[in-house]
């Protein structure tokens, strides 16, 4: 039982809309889990349940329980800011702050209460190195992050996320707006990050799911149809819906 994330009976509602139905799944520590499924199937909503990002959307309701290690993250005495430090998130569209490259990464550390300048500097360098961005930006750390290319911006967002040393990283279609070369860099990065982090990634791209993930979960109309090792999902899935989806019969 080396589960990092344990999801029990999670249902989610936007007002009257029942968008997630009784989801149960587990994610192993230091693995990559891919969530696939057609648009509107609830995979992004589910991802945002894991760091309680849906809390900020008014009119939503969640039932069920999610455990990170042994901590029930929706219980009343569990602090949401602590959770989000443990469970980082990378968004579909890169969203660097309109500040310098350095400040983008230092931000998470500063709000965590880290004041030591040397400490911050070394973490900034380490995070940029682990996203292979250091050599590209080390001479212009004080330039605006908006001056980076799309792929660099997304890697900066990943660097920003790992700077606060989370245990889990959630990625919501992190490469969907990028060119093939930037996408490849992000995918290589995911393989690298898996050594230290548990990763859950939403993707529209089934080849990508097959390439980067250890486990794949197929969502359809708010339900988890099946979750298994990725090679099984893509070669001999248990459900005909999954088979039709991964072979491109619909989607």
């Amino acid at each position: 039982m080396n589960y990092k994330i344990n999801v029990k009976n999670v249902s989610f509602y936007y007002g009257e809309n029942h968008v997630l139905k009784e989801i149960n799944l587990t994610v192993e520590k230091n693995s990559v889990a891919a969530l696939i499924g057609p648009s509107g199937c609830g995979k992004s909503t589910f991802l945002r349940c894991i760091n309680r990002m849906n809390d900020i959307i008014p009119g939503t309701k969640m039932t069920g329980e999610i455990l990170i290690d042994e901590d029930s993250i929706y219980s009343h005495n569990y602090d949401v800011t602590t959770l989000r430090r443990r469970v980082g998130m990378v968004f579909q569209k890169s969203n660097p702050f309109p500040q310098s490259i350095y400040d983008n990464i230092a931000y998470g550390l500063k709000i965590k209460g880290i004041k030591d300048k040397y400490d911050i500097e070394s973490t900034v360098e380490k995070s940029l190195k682990s996203t292979a961005l250091w050599d590209e930006v080390k001479d212009r750390l004080n330039k605006s992050a908006m001056s980076l290319s799309g792929g660099q911006q997304q890697r900066l967002c990943i660097a920003r996320t790992i700077a606060v040393q989370p245990e889990v990283i959630l990625m919501d279609e992190p490469a969907s707006a990028l060119d093939p070369i930037s996408t490849q860099k992000i995918e290589e990065l995911i393989q690298e990050l898996k050594k230290n982090y548990t990763i859950v990634i939403v993707t529209h791209n089934m080849q990508q799911a097959a390439r980067v993930s250890d486990y794949t979960a197929f969502f359809y109309l708010g339900e988890l149809i099946e979750m298994d090792r990725t090679e099984i999902i893509f070669t001999k899935p248990g459900n005909i819906l999954t088979e039709n989806y991964v072979t491109g019969k619909f989607g």
Partner: protein, 301 residues
């Protein structure tokens, strides 16, 4: 058939052309009128400096335009304007920014709508009504609470001017703050920031360009306001020593004296010269506003 289509096309091209040119003419006309006003101001004001040196005019400490020994020094008037502007800004800016942040980031639903429309209502109160309030409400209040002889003074004028600038600063900065995309706030929340940290460290810095524009426009409004200062500033052309001293800003001075100044006379010219000074001040302010709002705009390249 084909011919008719062609004709239609050329008609619509002519129509486009006419529309385009008429808009051009209209916009040029308004520019020309503005330019004419400027020329008029200069033509009427500049001859003053044949009689009074620019330096004596700006830094002279005595304003006696109708005595036997005429002295035309507007330094007390400039100082009055500056003091009032600073004091009113100090009062207006924090209140406006707090209100803007409250409306944009904290309030929800009905409360938000009500506060927003209240701010708009304040903006639509005629300044003469605000001046009237200053005379019958604020002035007696000041006399009663601060043990002073007259309530028509620097503080009273600054309070009321702040009140007129608040809607301008609030609504423009609120627009700037509201336009910050949700994705930026989400990025901050996802890093474990709370609401307050997100507002102070991400939202406000990102909307600084718009907030600067709002502040400068608010201050321009304070500098240019005439009716209120005419009614409640006290009207004494001396350099104030405390916030309870009466003052006479540039605008109210022109408004009060223009009717009695003989056309073409030295007093008349001096009032136009004050107009030039005011024009230069607001011009500098607007340029600064443009510069600051561009400086804090994070460009893509």
């Amino acid at each position: 058939m084909l011919l008719r289509k062609k004709q239609n096309k050329s008609y619509s091209l002519i129509f486009d052309y006419l529309i385009e040119k008429s808009f051009l003419i209209i916009s040029i006309t308004s520019l020309l009128i503005l330019f004419a006003i400027m020329l008029f101001l200069i033509k009427e004001g500049i001859p003053l400096f044949k009689d009074v040196g620019i330096f004596d005019f700006i830094f002279g400490k005595e304003w006696y335009p109708v005595s036997d020994n005429i002295r035309l020094g507007i330094f007390p008037l400039i100082i009055s304007s500056i003091y009032i502007t600073i004091l009113a800004s100090i009062i207006a800016i924090p209140i406006s920014l707090a209100t803007a942040i409250y409306i944009a980031e904290i309030s929800k639903g009905k409360v938000k709508e009500i506060i927003k429309s209240l701010i708009e209502i304040i903006a639509s109160i005629p300044s003469v009504v605000i001046g009237f309030l200053g005379m019958v409400v604020v002035a007696p209040f000041l006399i009663k609470n601060f043990n002073i002889n007259s309530g028509l003074n620097l503080l009273n004028a600054s309070l009321l001017l702040a009140f007129t600038a608040i809607p301008t600063i609030t609504s423009i900065s609120e627009d700037a703050i509201s336009s910050i995309p949700m994705s930026l706030k989400e990025a901050s929340f996802a890093l474990g920031a709370n609401k307050w940290q997100t507002v102070v460290r991400i939202v406000i810095p990102a909307s600084l360009s718009g907030i600067w524009t709002a502040i400068i426009l608010g201050i321009s409004r304070i500098i240019g306001e005439t009716m209120i200062v005419l009614m409640v500033a006290g009207g004494a052309a001396v350099i104030p020593k405390s916030i309870f001293d009466p003052v006479r800003p540039l605008t109210s001075n022109v408004a009060a004296e223009m009717a009695e100044a003989a056309v073409g006379g030295i007093h008349y010219r001096a009032l136009f010269a004050i107009g030039i000074i005011l024009f230069i001040i607001t011009f500098i302010f607007n340029i600064t506003a443009d510069y600051l709002s561009n400086k804090y705009k994070f460009k893509n390249k």
